[in-house]
């Protein structure tokens, strides 16, 4: 490799605020609601703090809790792992609420907290906009409000929603995202409108986490089938922390059926593989193939192209071991693309202020 290569880390998770930390960002009515109704927390079930997957051991405090403060994040992601930018994805229960107004209030508060407590504290940080998906008009309003701050580079959605992401009632959100040059980032997490598998609730957390890969397949099928990318030709969707090895098999099956039943979806007027190549990106952790270099090479080949993967550490989640978020055996040219070129090409706004 020639010279130092600094990565753009496309998935890091600062600790979410305790509800009392959000109080200053809520208006009087919602502040009083939190206090009077005794709302304890909007933390979700998706990452039980003490579960090994939820944080690398050295990123925990004395009591075992993940220590993902912004300072710690910066020290690890920029210092130890040598990234030069990182995109904060705040995983908070805003999308789980049932009241549209409450969700909109908490989304506003959270995004303002992100600006003050993350972005203003470290100029290398960027962030995703959290939106109240309960009501698309309110979600669009929140995008319009936050997009003025160019440090917001993406709109963040949980992978499991009340309805599949291709459905037309979502489209105003995509129009807003496209207008502002914001990719849609889809991240593991659920609004808990449905059971975590399409066959009901699993027993173990290990199954919960495994089930997200099914959601990503469904969402990709929906986005393509409904014609989202025909309608929004500049839109990019980033599948974050999705795993990557499910993609080739999904596409082969989907493309075979598309050849058979495409009359049903006439707006899908080119092969699904091409649509994915032009519109879909995946972050590289967890890289869920065996760690042997020849298997990694086979998977990269199956994934079809050097453009699709984006570097990510998934801080503080415990995905990889050692010091290297990239799987072994990637050729130098591909490493450079994954670490730097692909993120820059995906996130328009990242080009601002990056060398």
């Amino acid at each position: 490799m020639t010279g130092p290569l600094h990565a753009i880390d496309c998935d890091v998770h600062p600790a979410t605020p305790a509800l009392r930390e959000l109080l200053p960002y809520l208006d009087e009515y919602w502040r009083e609601s939190v206090i009077e109704r005794g709302i304890p927390s909007l933390e979700t079930n998706a990452y039980p703090p003490l579960a090994p997957l939820s944080s690398r051991p050295e990123w925990r405090g004395k009591a075992g809790q993940p220590q993902a403060t912004v300072a710690r994040l910066a020290e690890q992601v920029f210092g130890r792992l040598k990234a030069e930018r990182a995109i904060c994805n705040c995983l908070y229960g805003v999308e789980l609420l049932f009241s549209e107004d409450m969700a909109a209030a908490f989304a506003r508060a959270l995004n303002d907290w992100i600006v003050k407590e993350c972005l203003d504290r470290d100029p290398r940080l960027r962030a995703s906009i959290v939106v109240p998906t309960q009501n698309i008009e309110l979600a669009v309003e929140e995008i319009e409000r936050c997009a003025k701050d160019r440090r917001f580079v993406q709109v963040l959605l949980f992978a499991m929603q009340e309805s599949p992401l291709g459905r037309r009632h979502w489209w105003p959100l995509y129009a807003a995202a496209e207008r502002h040059g914001l990719p849609i980032g889809v991240h593991p997490g659920s609004t808990y409108r449905h059971s975590l598998t399409s066959l009901g609730w699993p027993t173990y957390y290990a199954e919960d986490y495994a089930s997200y890969a099914q959601a990503f397949q469904s969402q990709l099928g929906s986005l393509i089938s409904e014609g989202v990318f025909a309608k929004f030709p500049s839109l990019k969707v980033v599948l974050i922390e999705s795993g990557v090895t499910w993609l080739p098999g999904f596409l082969w099956r989907f493309a075979k059926f598309w050849r058979g039943v495409r009359a049903e979806v006439p707006w899908v007027d080119r092969p699904p593989q091409e649509i994915v190549r032009d519109h879909i990106r995946l972050t590289i952790q967890p890289f869920d193939a065996p760690d042997e270099p020849d298997m990694v090479e086979r998977m990269i080949d199956h994934l079809g192209g050097d453009d699709i993967l984006l570097y990510a550490s998934d801080f503080p989640h415990w995905q990889f071991d050692g010091e290297e978020p990239l799987p072994p055996g990637l050729p130098d040219a591909l490493r450079r693309k994954v670490m730097f070129d692909n993120p820059l090409a995906t996130y328009e706004r990242l080009k601002e202020g990056v060398r």
Binding site: A51, P52, L53, A159, M160, E162, S163, P164, L165, G166, R167, S190, R193, H194, T197, S198, L199, G200, W201, P202, T203, Y204, Y205, A206, E207, Y209, A210, S211, Q214, A215, S218, Q219, G221, S222, S225, E226, G243, T245, W246, P248, G249, F250, W252, R253, K256, F257, W258, R259, G260, V261, R262, A263, E264, V265, P286, D288, A289, D301, H302, W318
Partner: protein, 366 residues
């Protein structure tokens, strides 16, 4: 897909023996009448089937073809596709020289009905008709033990009734169960199947009453079809994580029409998760991918088609060549033709395993 009948030009391939593990002979409700009590016959006349979806006739996602069937599979003498033995012989069994074909009846079978007792009565009737209506007339047609799978005990009864009967190949479930297959309510099925020496065949479809995706209801048939792979990923995950294969080490599961390119990646993903979270599932003694390797078989149709032929070979290598069994899905529109559907690069030994050897070993056909 949707092929026209081929000319009988078989060349050297005619020597290949074929065991087709998925065909769908069609029965009518009237066919089942002799095996139903007056109570259930009357019930069906009055209330019909109520299978956790809203349409009295037809499907929530209309198929791409009438009855999802090949256009050329409608018998010239009338009747529904695959309802006429003579025409099915001419078009499929004799035409391809099928040695055995496993019947997986889809409807009417009562599977997944809201009324468990109706399901049990219809499962019994469907099984009797598989024997009298098909196997007795052509012994190449091997039956499945249709079970009312939402009721574990009633399913056990039906499996025990068929135990030792070599006219049955496997126990038939459908992939869209009301709860995940690893849950204890289904364990009597696995216990009885192991006792009787039957594999469990899981054929895609069914109606769970839940959205086909874990993010709600998709809009289109193409999504409904694609979702089967994700559904079976959840089922395999559940069977492993719940410890079903530890509890029933002789249990064998055949995934029918679910595709297979997802299977090895699922194992890798589960292994990675297990590496971190094994303290949650201490009952697992091995890595998840090892349970897949030992307990799961797959049917070939609908065969994944890769742009690079080598990718398909990679995928099959990762699963293991002893785990694939040829399936045509006759008479459905996405039928795989045995003359052209396997990768042309396969050597004779692998072709023979997939066309017949693996099924012969699993089902102990002589």
């Amino acid at each position: 897909m949707n092929v026209e009948a081929r000319q009988l030009v078989r060349e050297g391939r005619a020597r290949t023996k074929i065991i087709d593990v998925d065909i769908h002979p069609k029965a009518s409700v009237e066919d089942l009448r002799p095996y139903l009590s007056a109570r259930w016959w009357d019930h069906l006349q009055t209330y019909g089937s109520r299978s956790r979806q809203g349409f009295a006739k037809g499907f929530p996602y209309p198929k791409s073809q009438p009855l999802a069937s090949r256009r050329d599979s409608w018998p010239p003498g009338g009747g529904l596709p695959a309802s006429d033995l003579a025409f099915m012989r001419q078009q499929h069994l004799d035409f391809y020289g099928i040695e055995y074909a496993i019947m997986n009846p889809l409807s009417p079978t009562g599977q997944g009905d809201q009324n468990d007792e109706l399901s049990a009565a219809m499962a019994f009737a469907a099984n009797e008709f598989e024997l009298d209506g098909w196997n007795a007339r052509d012994p190449r047609l091997i039956a499945s033990v249709v079970i009312p799978y939402e009721d574990g005990e009633a399913s056990r009864t039906e499996i025990r009734r068929r135990s030792g009967d070599r006219r049955f190949a496997h126990v038939l479930m459908r992939s869209r169960t009301c709860e995940l297959m690893g849950k204890k309510r289904y364990w009597p099925i696995y216990e009885a199947a192991v006792e009787a020496g039957f594999p469990i065949g899981v054929h895609v479809f069914g109606t769970s009453g839940r959205p086909a995706s874990n993010s709600g209801w998709p809009s289109f048939y193409i999504e409904d079809m694609t979702e089967h792979a994700a559904c079976c990923q959840a089922q395999v995950t559940s069977l492993i994580m719940e410890g079903v294969f530890e509890r029933y080490p002789d249990l064998k599961v055949v995934l029918i029409e679910a595709g297979f390119a997802w299977l090895a990646p699922l194992g890798w993903r589960l292994d990675k998760i297990w590496k971190r979270l094994r303290d949650e599932v201490p009952h697992l003694k091995r890595a998840p991918s090892e349970y897949i390797r030992q307990h799961i078989w797959v049917s070939t149709q609908p065969m994944e088609e890769t742009d690079e032929p080598g990718h398909l070979i990679d995928v099959m290598n990762w699963i293991g060549w002893d785990r694939f069994m040829f399936a045509s899905d006759y008479p459905h529109w996405d039928f795989d033709d045995p003359l052209v559907s396997l990768p042309p690069s396969l050597d004779e030994a692998r072709r023979n395993k997939i066309f017949a050897g693996n099924a012969r070993a699993l089902y102990r056909f002589t």
